[in-house]
């Protein structure tokens, strides 16, 4: 079974990259490089250290933003899910944040927080946090009532009920929220680098575009997607280790 999954993954990668190569060779546009050219550029940039410097820059707002969003997001989500007062207080904020067209709000963020790290972290948080909070809250609210009653019948404290019943029961949806939130965080980090000041990977994208080095531009985009996919797979592994018995079909199957 594991082999079949691996085989299918490999096949879809070959199909996708094959289609890319073909589209690049036709070419669909003079601005669209082939897969092999892009990979060449990717390895060249990894080799000469461009990528490492760029990621050192890009990962800062990304890691800080995602970490804040994950911890704060789950905490607020639990809170909102457990108390209807806090739901009333907080959930509209996150619904608005989720619906807001972020790119249009960037000038406001820059006005308030300047062009530095703060603005970029905020962009990541605005992208990542709402999904995490809303998913967590929804999951917590939907804990099976019978389980909680059972906990009460066994005289469990409130804390024990939350830690041993509510969170494990909610974990699949919390993790689904985390996955969605973190992929949104990746989008936010790149958006910030393209829209606020070009640094890191965003700088490679804009700079290669302005000197018409399209293979490097696509290589940079490809690398960030690859990183996001790898990170999501890692997150899934963490979930399986932390909450056994919740495994269901996900990306990595």
């Amino acid at each position: 079974m594991a082999n079949r999954a691996l085989y299918l993954k490999f096949l879809s990668a070959v199909l996708l990259f094959g289609a890319w190569e073909v589209a690049g060779r036709i070419p669909v546009s003079f601005a669209f490089p082939t897969f092999l050219e892009s990979m060449g550029a990717l390895f060249r940039m990894i080799g000469d250290g461009t990528m490492a410097t760029a990621y050192a820059e890009t990962l800062r707002p990304l890691v800080v933003g995602v970490a804040i969003s994950a911890f704060l997001g789950i905490a607020i989500g639990l809170w909102v899910g457990l108390s209807s007062f806090f739901e009333w207080l907080f959930s509209p904020i996150f619904i608005v944040m989720q619906a807001a067209p972020l790119a249009a709000l960037i000038p406001l963020l820059v006005l308030a927080y300047g062009i530095g790290l703060t603005s970029k972290v905020l962009v990541v948080c605005i992208m990542a946090m709402p999904v995490i909070v809303l998913n967590t809250a929804g999951a917590v609210r939907n804990t099976p009532e019978s389980m909680k009653e059972m906990g009460k019948a066994f005289l469990a404290t409130d804390l024990a009920i939350i830690l041993k019943i509510v969170i494990p029961a909610a974990s699949p949806v919390i993790f689904a929220g985390l996955r969605l939130g973190i992929s949104a965080g990746f989008i936010g980090a790149i958006l910030a680098e393209l829209k606020i000041t070009p640094t890191g990977v965003g700088d490679i994208i804009t700079y290669s575009r302005s000197i018409a080095d399209y293979p490097s531009m696509y290589a940079a985009i490809f690398s960030i997607i690859l990183l996001a996919v790898l990170f999501l797979n890692l997150l899934e592994k963490i979930e399986t280790v932390l909450f056994k018995g919740n495994q269901r079909g996900y990306v990595s199957d």
């Binding site: 003079f30 601005a31 302005s210 018409a212 080095d213």
Partner: protein, 322 residues
Amino acid sequence: MKTLLKKTAVAAIALGLSVSAAAADKIRIALAETPSDELAAFFVALERAKANGLDYEWTAFSDEELAIQAVLSGQMDIGFGTPYAAMQRSKAPLRIVFQLSKLKFFPVTTKKYSSLNDLDGEPILLHSRGGGTDSIANVIEDRLSMKFGERSYVPGSSNRVAALLGGRADATIIDLSNKNKLMRSEAGSNFNVLEMFDVEASDEALFGNLNWIQENEEDVAIFVEALVSTWQDMHEDPTIIRKETNPDGPIGQLPKEILDELDGFYSDAVEGGLYDPNGGGRKAAQADMEWYSAAGQLEGDASELNIEDFWYLAPLDAAMNK
């Protein structure tokens, strides 16, 4: 299933063909920015071309690179910008037909510095990496054998002026109209405009795909003629831009404050040599080769580059001989 696939494929191709056939009637112009005072002269030329039978539509892109990409992929016919790197690297047959404006930018600093040499090792604020002001900085370094300190990037001359005024930067390079606005304002006395060599290279030029240009020779001729006549008339009398601006057009719809400043803007621009009344041509092409290879956008030695690989001069020559 197979027939269904076939049918969809045929339908898709037919749709694609009909779209491109429908679009062939109008020429599609890719602007690198939304219509502003700087584009007023261009729109006057468009009005003149329209009177001579040119049918066009324009789309404003958020930056020059997107406009170049749209022309590269054939979604737009004629674009705005200086796509030298794209011409050399992507093997696309792009050619410039007209120089719209020259790279007239000015190093402006606080009173801390009084000449370009003072900026050796000092941080400077520029538009974007690989952009026009970046190339100016490269050439300054090259000619004066100096090296700027850290370069940071803030797109838009007016934003860089704001950074200067806010004390967040001590040195930057800005365009003619923002330089004039800043130096004529009350705050002007706090800043220096550093003396710099003259630049003849293009900032914005009109370019298209060579195959498209040759297939639409007539339209391109009307367009280039209109541009040449507008640029020459503007040199005689900069106020024609304001007079000829179509009140219902994209420039005519701009706020009155901006329209009132058009005369001043174009008088300054003509005086400052921002526009070449002869559309650039060989002189501009030669200057561009030298400039952009010195700035690192073109590879190879300027003397070995062939003008014909970057410019298509026939329409401009024809217009100049009229």
